[in-house]
Amino acid sequence: MIHWNSFSDFLAMGGYGLYVWGSFGVTALIMVIEPIAVARQRKTTVARLKRQLRAESRSTEA
């Protein structure tokens, strides 16, 4: 059984909407941004290590 009578009731949170959604919103935002940052960090690190590896193998061949 759903506690709310309407969607606008749900959004209003009995007058606490700003505080409740401010809490959930920022938490959700961080839980989206953090994994993206981790994935991006991984991409740049792998690219840099690959470049290093290529540079090394060139210098040993020469």
């Binding site: 506690h3 007058g15 505080y19 409740v20 920022v26 961080i30 981790v38 991984r42 290590l49």
Partner: protein, 248 residues
């Protein structure tokens, strides 16, 4: 002898790297399921609180993030102790991978706490024992991360960071027991092993949300530690093979 299950095997970055990669999707899946169930119960089914109206629903993010901010620190201190005692390479990497997530959890704990404090206490912030010790926890995370990046030699950075973590661990019981030891504005713990002051359905919502945050933190930390392993072990043959194999 070598065929026997050996815990030490997993303390080697070369075996832990692929294992972590295989575990991540499972933690994401579990975290999503726990999160959806927790949000359904907490935001849609749980009744209004008789004292705090609908404002109490902040508890479903506030308590899980606060628990995680303390728990992640304890895990980091555990790895620091292992690293200092046995000089294992992986432990420092684990501590480093957990730190940003722990810092974000501490920040979220303070943020959601401020948004809860304003309507209930009439203020965003007070210099009360619980709030101040949680702020110190956030500074400990930031201090640890700053210290580790400031030292070029990775093994020395692990050692210095590890000592900071072990000294700072004294702050965790202070946070946890602050509501008992001092007169604070912050309410006492609503969850207890023997009895709980919350309605059962609210408690379920909160526990599911806590599990979701737990799974999320593990998934993110595992993903981060994989990058750290590649970077730190880039001189080894297996990392070279992983990079040239193209599937790294």
């Amino acid at each position: 002898m070598n065929d026997r299950f050996n815990l030490y095997r997993f303390s080697s970055p070369a075996t832990f790297y692929p294992l972590a990669g295989k575990m991540i999707p499972w933690f994401i899946a579990a975290g999503t399921l726990f999160g959806l169930a927790g949000l359904y119960i907490g935001m849609l089914v749980a009744p209004t609180d008789f004292q705090q109206g609908e404002g109490y629903r902040i508890i479903f993010v506030h308590v899980p993030t606060s628990w995680m901010s303390m728990f992640i620190y304890l895990v980091m201190a555990f790895w620091a102790a292992i690293g200092l005692a046995f000089n294992t390479r992986l432990s420092g990497m684990m501590a480093q991978a957990l730190a940003p997530t722990g810092a974000l959890m501490a920040f979220l704990s303070l943020w959601t706490g401020a948004l809860w404090g304003k309507p209930m206490w009439g203020t965003w912030w007070v210099w009360d024992a619980r709030l101040t010790s949680e702020l110190i926890l956030l500074f400990l995370y930031i201090g640890y991360m700053a210290l580790v990046v400031a030292i070029d030699d990775a093994r020395r950075a692990d050692k210095a960071g590890g000592i900071l973590l072990l000294v700072g661990v004294v702050n965790i019981p202070i946070i946890y027991f602050s509501v008992k030891w001092w007169n604070t504005l912050h309410q006492g713990s609503s969850v207890n092993l023997t009895k709980s002051s919350m309605a059962e359905i609210m408690l379920w919502g909160m526990l599911l949300m806590a599990l979701a945050f737990w799974m999320y933190s593990i998934a993110v930390a595992l993903a981060r530690v994989r990058t750290i392993i590649l970077e730190r072990e880039c001189h080894t043959d297996w990392v070279r093979a992983e990079l040239t194999g193209g599937k790294a």
